[in-house]
């Protein structure tokens, strides 16, 4: 087993990894910026190294500082968490070069999956269904038009290096393709330093469903029951659940098998997520995230597998320990992302002091958070304060447990998305299950005597 792991991250995910290390008897090294000197990840790790100033570019994205911290503390391995350097192929490559084990796949695989058109090609070659569209990057608008004639309209132009909706344009008719192609390419170039774009059929009323995988790189591979991440706001996931409500068993098996084929074809090592869109009974590959995800706990709850412990076992060269039953979901789990954003003021990010903090307890409640009373939320990083995960035998009970736990969750000093989640759980369509990714964009938040409520606007789904 690895003896010492440097955790190249902050916040709740740094704690998650430190906890797993402690439970496995691995020593942990926290790295922190000067803005995080009062952070729990620093306090709970066995060792801690200050790596730079508050801006992430000087600290959590500062590769030399992190590698130096690993060398100084004698860490055998680096766990990147999610975000920051987790999908940075150069970082993984430097780790490989300096002989520190990167907990994750090889830099080659990270690099390939980070290029969306290369990823689509790899998926197609592994027999995984991909959305009908261009075969990789479209060189120019003329090629885009040829592809458009095949896949039909509406279609979507997407940045090859992209994510988060940047460099993306929906095109309703061929007449608008030229302009959209140029705009998307320019936006992609500005945002990612790479203006290449590709084309896909535009799917409507789609659900975002993803499959967690673990693989030993040439050894065993396990694919786990899916997560439904369709509750999003501006392409940011807010609430995730497992299993996906109402998903037919054959679709589940289909996605799990497809994910496992891709992973095997890649010679993938560690934990990863294969993301699909699901629409009208069909599923298509979107992309693969070559890292742990924020929403991994819902899979842990319905399978009993400790995904971070398994990452560390695989990175240590030990076999992974996944029980047989883990391929079938047992119960229902929902995760709520509690962000420091004010849903009453257009999700304005909040920073400041957490004056009071009391997470919910009792049966079927898990909280992953770096908060404590008196903690100051720094303005430099992302807004995730806590993940509340509820688990119960069935979805209806999990929703009621979620309402109970959200209601109990006390955070004072900063506004959070807690009231938004209560509103989502009260929504009739959500309770019925199986809503599409446009769920939130088709609703407005109304203030109903202090409580938030979602009200449908525009066309029904």
């Amino acid at each position: 087993m690895i003896g010492k792991v440097l955790v190249a991250n902050r916040g709740e995910i740094a704690l998650r990894v430190i906890r797993a290390c402690r439970e496995l008897g691995i020593r942990s090294v926290a790295v922190y910026s000067t803005a995080d000197s009062d952070s729990l990840h620093r306090m709970l790790a066995d060792e801690a190294v200050c790596i730079g100033p508050p801006p992430a570019s000087g600290s959590y994205l500062n590769i030399p500082a992190i590698i130096s911290a690993a060398e100084l503390t004698g860490a055998d391995a680096i766990h990147p968490g999610y975000g920051f350097l987790a999908e940075n192929a150069r970082f993984a490559e430097i780790c490989e070069r300096v002989g520190v084990k990167f907990v994750g796949p090889s830099s080659r695989v990270i690099s390939m999956m980070g290029d969306k058109s290369a990823a689509r090609r790899a998926a197609r070659e592994a027999g995984v269904p991909v959305t009908p569209g261009s075969d990789g990057v479209c060189a120019n608008a003329a090629e885009a038009k040829r592809v458009g004639a095949e896949v039909g309209y509406p279609l979507v132009v997407k940045a090859s290096a992209g994510g988060g909706g940047k460099g993306m344009r929906v095109v309703e008719a061929e007449s608008k393709l030229d302009a959209a192609f140029t705009e998307a390419s320019r936006e992609a170039g500005a945002a990612f330093g790479d203006g290449s774009v590709y084309i896909e059929r535009y799917l409507q009323d789609l659900r975002h469903i993803e499959v967690q995988v673990l693989s030993e790189a040439g050894g065993k591979t396990a694919a786990f029951p899916e997560r439904d991440c369709s509750i999003q706001r501006r392409y940011q996931k807010l609430l995730e659940e497992s299993p996906a409500p109402g998903l037919p068993d054959d679709a589940r098996r289909g996605m799990m098998d497809a994910a496992a084929s891709l992973v095997d074809a890649l010679g993938y090592e560690g934990a990863g997520t294969v993301e699909f869109v699901y629409s009208g009974g069909e599923f298509f590959f979107i992309e693969m995230n070559t890292r742990l995800q924020v929403e991994h706990p819902v899979t842990e709850m319905v399978t009993g597998v400790d995904l971070v412990a398994e990452q560390l076992r695989i990175a240590s060269g030990e076999g992974m320990g996944v029980p047989e039953g883990a391929a079938v979901p047992d119960g229902h789990a929902i995760e709520f992302r509690i962000n420091a954003e004010d849903p009453r003021r257009n999700f304005l990010p909040q920073a400041g002091s957490v004056e009071f903090y009391n997470p919910p307890g009792g049966p079927g409640v898990r909280v992953d958070s770096h908060l404590y009373a008196g903690y100051k939320v720094p303005p430099h990083y992302d807004s995730l304060l806590a993940k509340l995960i509820v688990f119960a035998t069935d979805r209806e009970t999990a929703i009621r447990r979620g309402l109970r736990a959200l209601d109990e969750f006390a955070i004072a000093g900063v506004e959070t998305t807690l009231p938004l989640h209560l509103a989502i759980l009260e929504d009739e369509d959500f309770r019925r299950g199986g809503v599409s990714t446009s769920f939130l964009s088709r609703r407005e938040l109304r203030n109903d005597e202090g409580l938030l409520r979602l009200v449908s606007v525009g066309a029904p789904e």
């Binding site: 000197s37 790790a45 008196g374």
Partner: protein, 171 residues
């Protein structure tokens, strides 16, 4: 800290380009002093007095609310290297801090003389040590001129970002 408003006014008046003594006279420091005494003896929080052109405002120091802290016993971390060292700096000393994580070397190369010793006087910009990171030797210059009072890091030991390396007495 007992802040006095009249001090601020003084500044503004000077900035305003009217440094004339006309009508301003000297500050009524005796009055200020007596109000400060009154505040301290009485234990009240704030006293403001205004009479005509004169205004004096004295406030008690806010009670330091005991900061919520994770109790020491729960935390296993080392002492923060990045904490300011108010003691040293209050004494008029200046800490040269590490601008990066790495290994601290006092000399340019093994076997050579250290850049500086305690008692040496250094100039701004003069290299005083090396911090090695990723096989790169980074010469760290003094950021003030002055006398080297203390060397805080061990040769060939690790240093964190912002960790004090030297204490200088600025010229």
């Amino acid at each position: 800290m007992s802040e006095t408003r009249s001090e601020d006014n003084q500044d503004e008046a000077l900035v305003g380009g009217e440094p004339s003594g006309k009508g301003r006279g000297s500050l009524p420091l005796d009055d200020v002093s007596r109000i400060v005494d009154l505040l301290r003896e009485s234990g009240v929080g704030e006293i403001q007095v205004r009479q005509g052109e004169l205004e004096i405002s004295v406030k008690a120091k806010p009670e330091a609310p005991a900061p919520q802290r994770v109790p020491e016993v729960e935390a296993s971390s080392r002492e923060p290297a990045s904490q300011p060292e108010p003691q040293a700096e209050a004494n008029g000393l200046h800490a040269v801090r590490s601008p990066l994580v790495g290994t601290f070397y006092r000399a340019p190369a093994p076997g050579e003389e250290p850049y500086v010793e305690v008692g040496d006087t250094v100039m701004v910009g003069q290299p005083i040590c090396i911090v090695e990171a990723m096989k790169l030797m980074n010469e760290i210059p003094a950021d003030v001129s002055g006398e080297v009072v203390e060397i805080l890091a061990d040769n060939a030991g690790g240093v964190e970002y912002d960790q004090p390396l030297f204490r200088l007495r600025p010229e």
